[in-house]
Symmetry: C2
Subunit: 477 residues, 2 copies
Amino acid sequence: MGPLLALSLRLPRRGSRRRLQALHEQLRAAILDGRLHAGLRLPSTRALASACGVSRGTAVATYDRLLGEGYLVARLGAGTFVAAGLARPAPRPAARSPDPRLAQAWRRTAPPGAPPARPRYDFRIGVPDGASFPFDLWRKLLGRATRAAARSGPADAAAAGRAALRDGIASHVSFTRAVAARAEDVVVTTGAQQAFDLLARILVTPGRTVVALEDPGYPPLRAAFRAAGARLVPVPVDAEGLVVDRVPRGAAVVCVTPSHQFPLGTAMSIERRTALLALAQARGAVLIEDDYDAEFRFGGRPLDALQTLDRSGSVFYVGTFSKSLSPLLRTGFVVAPPWARDALIAAKRTADGENPALAQEALALLIAEGHLARHVRRMRRVYERRRALLLAGLARDFGGALEPVAAVAGLHLAAWLPAGTDADRLAARARDQGVGVLALSPFYAGRARPGLLFGYGATDEATIAAGLARLRTLWRR
Amino acid sequence: MGPLLALSLRLPRRGSRRRLQALHEQLRAAILDGRLHAGLRLPSTRALASACGVSRGTAVATYDRLLGEGYLVARLGAGTFVAAGLARPAPRPAARSPDPRLAQAWRRTAPPGAPPARPRYDFRIGVPDGASFPFDLWRKLLGRATRAAARSGPADAAAAGRAALRDGIASHVSFTRAVAARAEDVVVTTGAQQAFDLLARILVTPGRTVVALEDPGYPPLRAAFRAAGARLVPVPVDAEGLVVDRVPRGAAVVCVTPSHQFPLGTAMSIERRTALLALAQARGAVLIEDDYDAEFRFGGRPLDALQTLDRSGSVFYVGTFSKSLSPLLRTGFVVAPPWARDALIAAKRTADGENPALAQEALALLIAEGHLARHVRRMRRVYERRRALLLAGLARDFGGALEPVAAVAGLHLAAWLPAGTDADRLAARARDQGVGVLALSPFYAGRARPGLLFGYGATDEATIAAGLARLRTLWRR
């Protein structure tokens, strides 16, 4: 840290006798006003001396004085640290009332708060098995990508994504989902969330554009379109998926999860898919197809993606590697129709320039060398077993009270509760007992049908069995 | 790729004699309609067989038939590929007229186009020396971060950034810039660009909020505020930095580069800094301090950051590791006042969730173990030499015609040309001769004073000397 510290210190010229005093005063002032905060480790005396152009003796004397005065504390073998409790308190807003300097829409933001403790029986949804991620392979691929970058020199900025990754994604979705995609149709994003956010930017005129969303649906998708100033209209979902007849006439954008409705898990029927595409074509509307965990399909015939069936360039196909590989990668993508590509790339450039290059190159290697396909194949078997166990447990132990929603894909399962059940209360009591299940209600914009969600991405078979047993005990009471 | 392909194929049940025919027809259809695009490598026959549940013989026969028909081509040792020129052309917009499905603001986006070829004498600005990035170290740190993640299991989402990195950034800016920052004040972003974009979101009410920007200034910053719907007002810059008296009365946000004005390089005087802070406090305005390459300061006393001087919580301090380390990292940050923190974190969550975790952990290690400080110290010497060489060359070879703008920091230098010189034409001619210098004009919103920009981040000493020699020849003609 040495010389850097010097930047913020102003000492009398070399040889002056006041250097020790000045150094001492300025460090003390920096501690008192919080610039050097409690717990901060200071540079070694040698580094301080070289940084400030003082003798080692002056540096030692300065620290000694500050130690003696209690501004610093020394921890044996660890270094010298700024003592706690000295700085003036940081300025804080007087009240919890929002600051008028924030734009109106952002004034009512709740503080993030600490993430809840992990429940013992973790039925979280939307996450794959963390331990199964091929960490060793990933480390090696990152190493290869880093070495290649060192050899090839700095690459040009590429807002749409690195060529190798766009190519890999195009191949991947061509094969796995029969999506018509060439490398130039693909824009790489920071997770699916940024895909939604960029699409909201380029498709929404604030205060005007009507966006139809599934109800129940995915709250972060809603948040992105709300932030862009869209007028949101929830549209109900039934056993065939989105009720297309209920899409409002003026909707310019319709967001859907046809393969595996989020959060219910139902697949949209082919009739509804056809009707939705016809609606888009007739009205000049745009469809956003979120295919978030379509890789994990268990038997049953796959239905074509909307994008595959589309002949009018109406569909944006959004995918993510957060489920098929790991949320650690924070990599998603859009397959965009040609008319929107330039705008989408420009939005990405404005939003954050581009995704970090090395991780993109490593992911491209992972796809090109067949590791993704192998990993998905392996994990599909794992999830299929967990899912079967969960279904069997629900059928056996809950006397028909928890009725699984028919679904053939994904990393979680929804189950209806009898009408009138207070699902929120049940879920809260379950969490108190260490069973981390969610109620369906937070996913509804309108009135919720009571139900629970069981994720099996983060939970092994033994935990599923034990968690269900505990839930059953609770349920019987 | 094997089993994944199966997802999009529908074959008669096992044992049926029509499996070969169905497989052949469906692959052919997928090639014809472009779902399997030209040049795509198909899975091996073994993988295809296992994926579709057909015999190896059926898979071989299918490929043979498609090869015979010309739908596939085999390349010895490389595999089997989709032939070129078969698919129907992809749908394209009939004209270059923008599609009405795009929001108005995004209809006039120019296509990105290929990046320009690297000039032989590369005076690009805004990039550090690419080859000096400690690739080996970075590879090792990524490896350590990956191994640690494998051991510790999946981490909770953290929109503001990983705790270790926020802590490292707080220490770094405390020491190097005397910025008052604790870990909880820091939000990690995808480069400085996302910092600007998130700030624009939370501070701008579309169509209403007036934002003052330096003129000349940084175009991507302008783009972010324009995309958020701000009313942009350019404010002139003189030898003391932003002319604070010219900030319009209604400006709610003022964006400045006090350490090293972009692109001129001048430092904002202490009087202007004080005046700007007083203005912000009096009017309830917000200041965005972009400290983009303050690490590279060559002699001269540093002036305090605006954030350091601020006592009213008016300043957002934006930094980046793109200059001090590498743009490969795509990592920037905001030090935010407490009243805006929740909104900023919520905006980050909406925009893309969070930065990828492993690179954050690796960067935290790099800072904590002193590598960043060492790297900056080493590179400061390198850049200082290049800069001295450049200044000497300009003074010696251009007979006073190129007058360097006084500056004590950064990775580039601006130089004025005599009034009336056509700097754009000169820069274009220089680029034709392999000398990659930029004219100042693209950075001005209003009328530009003629000048050139010389970056020395990407250019070694020999190249600087040779590039200047060539420019001199051109200049004398």
